[in-house]
Homo-oligomer: 200 residues x 2
C-alpha cells in the first residue's frame, strides 16, 4: 500500500547543472538548475527549466544560447554558493574566482574549472507556468582529458557529478558503477529460456 | 584545455525511469526511459522523451496519461530486462511477475513493487526529431512508507534509485548524502565576509 504525498512531492533524483549565459554588456553569469535532462538524441538536445524571474532567463531569451556546466563533487561549495546568490547583486565569477571562457561555438560562457561542459543554442522554449523550459540543441560537449577512459569515452565515475534530492533540498554523491545496460536483462532472458526449455 | 567530444556525447548522468502506459485493449505496458527530468514546479510537471517507434509512444498519445515508476537498486535486473525487450513481443508484466496497479487518478498503470511512482496526465507534447518530449502534469506522487522519514519526507537514500551513464551505456548507484542545499554556499559567504571584514 503506497502513501500519497501529493503532486508537489517531486522526489526524483535530479542533476546539478550550472547554466552559463551572457547578460547585458556580455557580462558572464551562472546559475544552478536541477529541473532538466536530456530530451532528444537526434538532434542532440537537453532541456533545462528556469523561473521567469531569473536573470539567466532574460539572458537566454536574448542571446538564444547557454552552456550547461557539470560540477564535480569537489565543486560542491562553489556550486552551492552560485545557487545561493543572484547575478543581479553579485558577479559570481568575480566572487568565486571561477574562470569564464567564451564559447567559440555559442553565445555563452563556460566554466574553465568544471570537468564537463555542454554548449547549446536555443532550439525552442516553452512557457509551462512557474518555469520556462529551454530546449538547447547541443552543439558540442567538452570535457577535461582526465574524465575520459583510454578509448576517449566519458566516464561518469571520473566526472563524479553531484545529484540533487529535491524533496530533501540536499546533495548526494554519485555512487559506484554497477553494470553495463542490457547485461542483467539478457541474463534474465537466458535464465527464463533455459528454465522453459525454449527461446523467447 | 578541454577536449571536444562532439555533440552526441551526451555524457550527463540521467535518471532510470520505468514509464507505464495502457495499450490497445487497456493492456498495461512498461518501458525504460532516461531522457527526462522535472521541468516545472507550478504546475508540477516532468518531461520524458520517447522515440516515435516505441509502443509506449502510441499508448501515451492515445490515453493522454502515463506513470513514472522509479526502481530501487535491487530492481536493476528486472528494470534492465524491461529496457531490453519490446511490449510488442512481450507482455512485460507477465514476463517479470511485476504487478500492474490501475491508477485511480490517471489512465495508466503503475508498478506495485517499485518504491516511488509519479502519476501524470499529458500536459503537452513536442516533436523534437528522433524523440517526442511528453510533458506530464504530475497529479500525485506515491511512495512506500519505508521511503519516508519520520516527518513523511521522501528520502533519496531510502529510494536508492539507479543512475544511468548514457556515454557508458551503464548503470551507477546513488551515492552518499552530502549536505543540505544552501549550507556550503552560506559558509562560503560567511568566510568571505569575515575575511573581507564586511558583509556582501
Amino acid at each position: 500500500m503506497k502513501k500519497s504525498l501529493g503532486a508537489d512531492a517531486l522526489g526524483v533524483p535530479a542533476p546539478v547543472w550550472v547554466v552559463g549565459s551572457y547578460g547585458p554588456d556580455r557580462e558572464p553569469n551562472v546559475m544552478v538548475a536541477s529541473w532538466g535532462g536530456i530530451c532528444c538524441s537526434s538532434p542532440p538536445c537537453l532541456a533545462v527549466s528556469l523561473r521567469k524571474t531569473r536573470l539567466s532567463h532574460a539572458n537566454i531569451m536574448k542571446s538564444k544560447a547557454f552552456t550547461v556546466n557539470v560540477p564535480s563533487r569537489r565543486h560542491l561549495p562553489v556550486t552551492d554558493y552560485i545557487g545561493t546568490v543572484s547575478g543581479r547583486s553579485q558577479n559570481k565569477f568575480a566572487a568565486t574566482g571561477l574562470t569564464p571562457v567564451p564559447s567559440s561555438l555559442v553565445e555563452a560562457p563556460y566554466i574553465l574549472e568544471f570537468p564537463l561542459v555542454l554548449e547549446c543554442t536555443l532550439f525552442t522554449s516553452i512557457d509551462l507556468g512557474s518555469h520556462t523550459q529551454f530546449i538547447g540543441r547541443v552543439v558540442d560537449v567538452k570535457a577535461d582529458e582526465a574524465m575520459l577512459d583510454g578509448a576517449g569515452a566519458l566516464i561518469a565515475g571520473k566526472v563524479n557529478p553531484l545529484i540533487a534530492s529535491p524533496a530533501e533540498r540536499a546533495y548526494y554523491a554519485l555512487g559506484n558503477y554497477l553494470t553495463p545496460a542490457h547485461a542483467p536483462g539478457l541474463a534474465v532472458l537466458e535464465h527464463r529460456a533455459a528454465r522453459q526449455g525454449k527461446g523467447w
